[in-house]
Amino acid sequence: MWTLAIELAYWQQTAIKLVVVALVIPTAALILGYVFLMKMMSFMQSRLGPMEAGPYGTLQLLADGVKFLQKEDVFPRRADRYVFALAPVVVLVSTFLLYVVLPMGPDAVVSSLDAGLFFVLAVASLSVIGVLMAGWGSANKYALMGGMRAAGQLIAYELPLVLAAIGVVIQAGTLDLNKIVLAQANGELFGWGGMGFPYILTQFLGFAIFLVAVQAELTQPPFDMPVAESEIVGGYQVEYTGFRFLFFFMGEFGTAFAFAGIASVLFLGGWYVPGLDPASGWFNLIGPFVMFIKIMAVSALIFWFRFTFPRLREDQLQKLAWKVLIPLALLNIVVTGVLKVLV
């Protein structure tokens, strides 16, 4: 593997990687927001979507971002100032931490933790704290209900998320995301290894449960009770204005991008593309583009659900999680375990 011309000290590498990640997340949120929330949704509703800002409305989200920034930062009078102010930061922290282990290439990862996947699932549960803080801090009945609903939902859907991912871990034998990608690159299905072996072929049930659980973690329809516009008018985000609401917006789309990334790493073979030797350094360059295409594919599916389905009720949502998703995920683990041992 060829090395860079200059030798960077360890902490300089981490600093550069952090800056890259810090820039990638807002742009990822903007791209995702624009392509899907603006354009794909409009085409599905036979309209054009924003066309005024920039060519074909590409700068619309930038304009929104600036609009949010210059908006007044309003605090409800009876709100708990610190809790209200800190809530969006906590949600954003959990989004940023997700990107620490997301591999875009053999070396293009901030720090390839040994228990990478476990770290992702742990950090995903951090946003619950932020949501509860937002719900409680804004001293508003609708926000409190939104916060309680969000907490119940995120906790209930953490389990199917973890169990769905365990199927892949059993098959790959490791928790480190880069090693999972390599396992998918070199593995072969019933002896034929030509096209590499993305785990979606055997783990399709796991992939389905993972997508449903991601839909719930992102509080998107059909699971958007916490921010149900027609019932509790925006849920825990109801009192937020200005850049704090921008944090929530960026948090939501940043997490969507991250979860789509993790889904493509676990099930679609990550940055690997058949026809190239997985160990070659070239993947550091083309890896991000491959990952971007796969992420866009998975996000298209996520947002397609979002624009088509109505909303479930909380008790139906909990029933779906505990009575349908978790048993299915356990069944998937058992089958994968048995097949792993036999084959």
């Binding site: 329809p221 008018v233 008790d315």
Partner: protein, 389 residues
Amino acid sequence: MSVTEREQRAFIAAAAADARVNVELETEGMTLNIGPQHPATHGTLRIIARLDGEQVVAAEPVMGYMHRGYEKLAEVRTYPQVTTLINRIDWLGSFANEVPFILAAEQLMEVEVPPRAAWIRTILFELSRLANIALFLGDMGVQLGALTPVFFAFRDREFVLNQIEAVTGGRFHPNFDRIGGLKDDLPKGWIEETRGVMVKMRTFCDELEDLLMGNEIFEARTRGVGVIPADIALSYGLSGANLRASGVDWDMRRDNPCGLVYDQLDWKVWTHPDGDSFARYWVRLQETREATYMVEQMLDGLPAGPVMAKVPVIIKVPAGEAYVATENPLGVMGYYVVSKGDLGPFRVKIRSASFNNISVTPWVMRGVYVPDVITILASLYFILGDIDR
């Protein structure tokens, strides 16, 4: 699967008892204000719901935010001026508001309307039904969280509104009906255009049937939610699709067609035994399709002739009382016109459909969950102008 009335009563009683007595997690009630300014209320209706956790113990609507006092205003205006007033009651299907009032005045004056005027009136009546119910079909989706159906509804409703505007000059407030006939005749080429629009409306109904009706989530959210048995619906005076969804086979257009030409068409009255939110949506969807077939039949059989009867220029309606009600898109709307023989009516009692349709909500919302409050409100389909007059 049809929910028998006894089962439903047991469900409501159990849910209500459960909400009132059971203190599973001791959280004393919270009064939630589904306020006058809320996306789920078509306008300014406020629901004060006493909650126990997520369950509603008691819900009580508060109205009057949009009360314009039409009955008092009507007493100081002449008959043509009252028509401009009353087509703002149900502003979605506004031609349908004018018709019963004009029919009542014509009944008092014993004026015979030329057949072509009666046919055009019925065509425009059904077109305003299409415009009104199409919005409901989309709006029910958005109340339950689906974003796309409402855009389909607005997109296809635009064609119907263009047709109404081509004839009457106004998309929302046509003001086209006169005592003794209509203001004007149909423009040239309008009939062919309307046939095309009817085909578009039918594809809209099919699309919504696939998008919402078949959807398991939609069924899970609406089946068995807000069940109104037939006798409760009758005693509260529900009308229109809400009544037919509870299994009562009654339609003013078929049972007493006063001035319109429904008896010369062949069409079917749709009913559904369950009486829950799903049934109400289903009945309205079938009625929209039925309306497109009726309009096509009427376009075929439109007689020639004048559109205005011989009516004196200064209209003084002879003294007397008349009550005429027609099957408006929202339900039965009727005008009880008392006249003492001068230029304006002496007293007009406006019987609006949504006022009765909403009076059943305190009964039906005991013990339901908060999201179901929104589903029930959306399925009862009211317009605020209709409630507050």
